[in-house]
Amino acid sequence: MKFTGVDFLGLDSEITAEERLIRDSVREFVDREVKPIIEDYHRQGKFPLHLTSKIGELGLFGAPFKEYNLPGLSATAYGLIMQELERGDSGLRSFVSVQSALVMYPLLTFGSKEQKDYWIPKLATGEAIGCFGLTEPGYGSNPGGMLTTARRKGKKWVINGTKQWITNGSIADIAVIWAKTEEGIRGFLVEKGTPGFTTRDQHGKFSLRASITSELSFIDCEVPEENMLPKAKGLKAPLMCLSQARYGIAWGALGAAMECYQVALEYAKTRHQFCNTPIAAHQLVQEKLVWMITEITKGQLLALQLARMKDKGRLAFYHISMGKRNNVWVAREVAKLAREILGANGIVDDYPVIRHMLNIESVYTYEGTHDIHTLIIGEHITGFPAFNPPKESC
């Protein structure tokens, strides 16, 4: 059965005809180009790189931005794109998220004119792929503790350190790397092939298998001074990038949830047990389906309000935390319930459910873990930051 959306409250009438058209165009793309191949790529642990130029032709890279003739979409339209892509696969959505929110956004926000002139058009078409290096082996939730350093050497910067869990790392033409300098944390553009810069792919993943995750290593890696992002100063800069990406995840996770729900619903209606009745007629199964659609619908309302606030410039990082925290949790629970409804069929990749369920495990703890977002909201409402354990003395 074709995916026709999950819209219990008729929210389609709350979005514009243009936003619907954009969503439906991406939906069609995912149905035609992604769904038929994704299970195979997932099995093989490969990223469908051939989709890059098609995504570029569609104009999905950097869609929310206006500069350089980019589409300048509403926050809702951008969110709907993320939703449809993640209905395809979280890895695919991650790929577009990284390119748009973590590479094009910092370039446009903190970059020099030369940096933007050179990279934005290439990134928009998919001719160039980017990655974002903040997380390190020892510093995930606490990126401020990073060990990567950059020091001045004449007209160059010398970077040393390791970045880990970097989406697109080994296929990226350009890496946005965050490092400690004497003047605080700064961002640098490191091109593929720069001496001292090597990558190694993470293998053995049971999640986001159709996505490339790499470790980036910098050993006395020299980049010219003009490769520093001039307007990015301090940890706030990479955190601003993450806010952009997390906003997209709040929508994206719903895409995975919606597909799991629809598959479970159709399965329940056609799977017969006990006196030849569909399992959907059983109260326990109905309870699961009702829980799923209720939480998805609440998540949709949350995402839609975040979009409206974003367009009005009223969206703060702690609002985004609520969206990311809630909607990814919803997707995780929905995927598990769908898996359960499908029984044994839920563990094989004849159905997309197990893949989504495994993918969401990554999404649950990347871009700010569920718990860290709890603490971000907690700090906002109480005024007490609870990120560090209590001090020994009271």
Binding site: M1, T4, E18, L21, I22, S25, E28, L58
Partner: protein, 253 residues
């Protein structure tokens, strides 16, 4: 070249279909609407003609408010302008009534070529555009799977029975009814969707004749399963089976 494409907005056949209470048609409020599949190929074919020979693509449809979505999509794909024949009763019209409405659009545009799908995925009568060609007294071709324009003529490939292909030459203006698979339709890019906002959709009303065909009822046929056990040794059973497949079921020759 002036290219006119007729499209129809239909209920998505891949979605769950719910019938109206009077059982005369599907409940259009309950089903997502999309551009008829064959018409999607017609739009793509029209855009390709324009890209190769220059000109302008006008896309037209007959329908209610929701039909605007189909026209916007066609504009987003690259059509230049759209004509919306407003008719809230579009879904009960028969082929003749629709063709008479379309004729009035054609007279307004005076196109060099008319492209549309061979049939709609809802009613599937496959006669509307043929009647239109007849009303206009111009040639037409049905089930077209290849189209080239040269020296003011259309060279077409038509799908025939038994996997044969017919090649023919027809003079323009003509009505070309394309078959799914004639091309690979493009996606509406974000750029195209943004540009579509600025393209005009002209709303017009036309004189529509009464229906000559009326749908009385739509229903799902009762499925029956008949099982017949063939008796005898394997050789006899095989012989009887072949006989039955050949003479009764006529699935083999």
């Amino acid at each position: 070249m002036k290219i006119l494409v007729f499209i129809k907005q239909v209920g998505d056949v891949e979605a769950r279909i719910v019938l109206r209470e009077d059982k005369k048609w599907i409940n259009l409020n309950e089903v997502p609407m999309k551009i008829n599949e064959n018409d999607q190929f017609a739009i793509e074919e029209a855009l390709r003609i324009k890209e190769k020979h220059g000109g302008e693509v006008t896309v037209a449809t007959i329908g209610g408010n929701k039909a605007t979505d189909a026209l916007r999509k066609a504009l987003a794909l690259g059509a230049d302008k759209a004509i919306h024949v407003e008719d809230n009763e579009w879904y009960i019209r028969d082929s003749y009534a629709l063709a008479k409405s379309m004729e009035q659009v054609v007279n307004r545009i005076e196109p060099d070529i008319i492209v549309t799908g061979s049939q709609s995925s809802d009613l599937g009568w496959g006669t509307t555009a043929t009647i239109l060609a007849s009303l206009l007294d111009i040639p037409h071709a049905w089930l077209v799977i290849g189209l080239q324009i040269e020296n003011g003529k259309a060279f077409i490939d038509r799908e025939m029975e038994a996997g044969m292909i017919e090649k023919s030459e027809i003079s323009l203006p003509a009505v070309i009814e394309v078959q799914a698979g004639i091309n690979t339709p493009r996606y509406a890019s974000l750029r195209g969707i943004m540009q579509a906002k600025k393209k005009p959709i002209e709303k017009i009303s036309v004189t529509i004749p009464d229906n000559r065909v009326e749908i009385l009822k739509i229903f799902e046929p009762k499925t029956t399963t008949q099982v017949e056990f063939l008796e005898g040794d394997p050789e006899t059973v095989a012989k009887t089976l072949i006989e039955k497949l050949r003479k009764e079921e006529r699935v083999i020759e």
